[in-house]
Assembly symmetry: C2
Homo-oligomer: 337 residues x 2
Amino acid sequence: MVQTRQWILASRPVGEPTMENFELETVDLSDPGHDELLVETLYMSVDPYMRGRMRDAESYAEPWDVGEPMRAGIVAEVLESNHDDFAAGDVVTGQGLWAEHAVVDGHGFRAVDPDLAPVSTALGVLGMPGVTAYYCMLDVVDPEPGDTVVVSAAAGAVGSVAGQLASMAGARVVGTAGSDAKCDWLTDDLGYDAAINYKTTEDLGAAVGDACPDGVDGYFDNVGGPITDAVWPLLNVRANVGVCGQIALYNATEVPTGPRKLAQLITTRASVEGFLVRDYDDEQWATALRRLGGFIADGRLAYRENVVEGLEDAPDAFLGLFEGENVGKQLVQVREP
Amino acid sequence: MVQTRQWILASRPVGEPTMENFELETVDLSDPGHDELLVETLYMSVDPYMRGRMRDAESYAEPWDVGEPMRAGIVAEVLESNHDDFAAGDVVTGQGLWAEHAVVDGHGFRAVDPDLAPVSTALGVLGMPGVTAYYCMLDVVDPEPGDTVVVSAAAGAVGSVAGQLASMAGARVVGTAGSDAKCDWLTDDLGYDAAINYKTTEDLGAAVGDACPDGVDGYFDNVGGPITDAVWPLLNVRANVGVCGQIALYNATEVPTGPRKLAQLITTRASVEGFLVRDYDDEQWATALRRLGGFIADGRLAYRENVVEGLEDAPDAFLGLFEGENVGKQLVQVREP
């Protein structure tokens, strides 16, 4: 019998989550059943969407139960397999737990090739954030050469990939981020044409206007709130807005208010569309991962990971997302690969 | 030389327009030049979009100048023609003035067939409002059989046509309007499945929810503001929202605020698109007018006109739009046809 430490949802947060909402417990695991795997976590992902699961409200997914383990995308080593596709020693990725060990359903897991790229990338540039950036940018924002595209949370796991894809498509790319170090990374390493530190900019609308002299043809919106208020008035005719995240709103305890902007859509005939990567099937994921892997191999796609070591620091890493501390993908390394 | 009375924009309104913003003057008209027509107005249209032209702010069209005549869609009789397509006695429609007589550019005018339908319909169901309803409903909202579609300002010139088209497409259609008489018209004569009087309903969200037990697949938004706040939370996955007007906001002196709702688009992957009928070309107008004319001839498309008599009452008719007084298309009859 295997014992594991795991984080459970101790209570639902009100507003910004705190350490009190998390509790580390030690439990005995049952043996894996039919099609199940016993895995040891190498990396786990912390993501803004998890804030939504901690809430007891209708969303696109069921809320997590209080007293139950927190869930996360993981990269793990298979210790025991009762699923035909996997054997002990394989490295796999899928939905697991905030835990050192777990028994998981083999369905929905896929093998990670350690020779292709560091296995941690399966949670970032070669995982859900990368595939999200790929399809939301190419299917929804859909930039053309000469377009101007704005990406919010541009130094995050999704935004950093999204902006580079827009740049490859021939667009002028402008990013917003929360520190000068992030802005430097965007312009120096990721090919962004301009970057705006939204925390130190007094007049965001003017700053976005200066950075986008020909207006905005595409907006990849990860943030919402005041950054979106600054970008929308600059939308050009037939602009495309992909709403991929609204992290500015996730911790709100009351419905936030802001300027009513829908009349701007009449002026511009712009299209605004919400995006969820789970609408894409296995084949589409494989296509995106193959292309993103190729871009990394070519040196056209850069990425960063911000790795916290040790399961005990997972809540800290998660809370840091709302402080804008992470440059690139935020991971927790639970065990060395 | 012909004299005419005409309304000029005396001053720009602040908030709701008043009679002081309009002035009736008498002027001498010059003779029509090359390709120009001297016309006598039979009907002129008053429309919510005119509020935008009275404002000195960037929009999809140039603002009107203070001291210049107010413009309007007109149906008129040609008195003198220097344009090859038209002869004296023809009935034509196009962009004219709030005036009894006017000299206009023949380009952009088209002949109206008095045998097809009353010529006044060229400003309503067989004119800009009808074509707007046709393409915004069929191209943007795009209902399918079994869908639920909500139309705001459903008893207006655009909304009354839009809802009937959705009903023909097999959708359940729910309208909002500002009086019980309008609501009765929607359900008794226009085939709406339910109608909500937004002025007497305390909890709009609950009322829309009751009327749309299967959620909302399409929303034809003419109004914005609190009605839109009530409809968005009910949007189904992949719902389509056509933003055709935002009359609730047109008289605002400061940018109105409301709940931030973009996160709902992620949950639903709904698409929101602004609409302007001027994006459609002559051939598309002809198609829509032919089809709408056919529906009227078949008895499948009902319409109403609210006709005020006399040019002197044109500002009153316009101001009434913001009080929600008009059932169907609001017209001013300047001369009997």
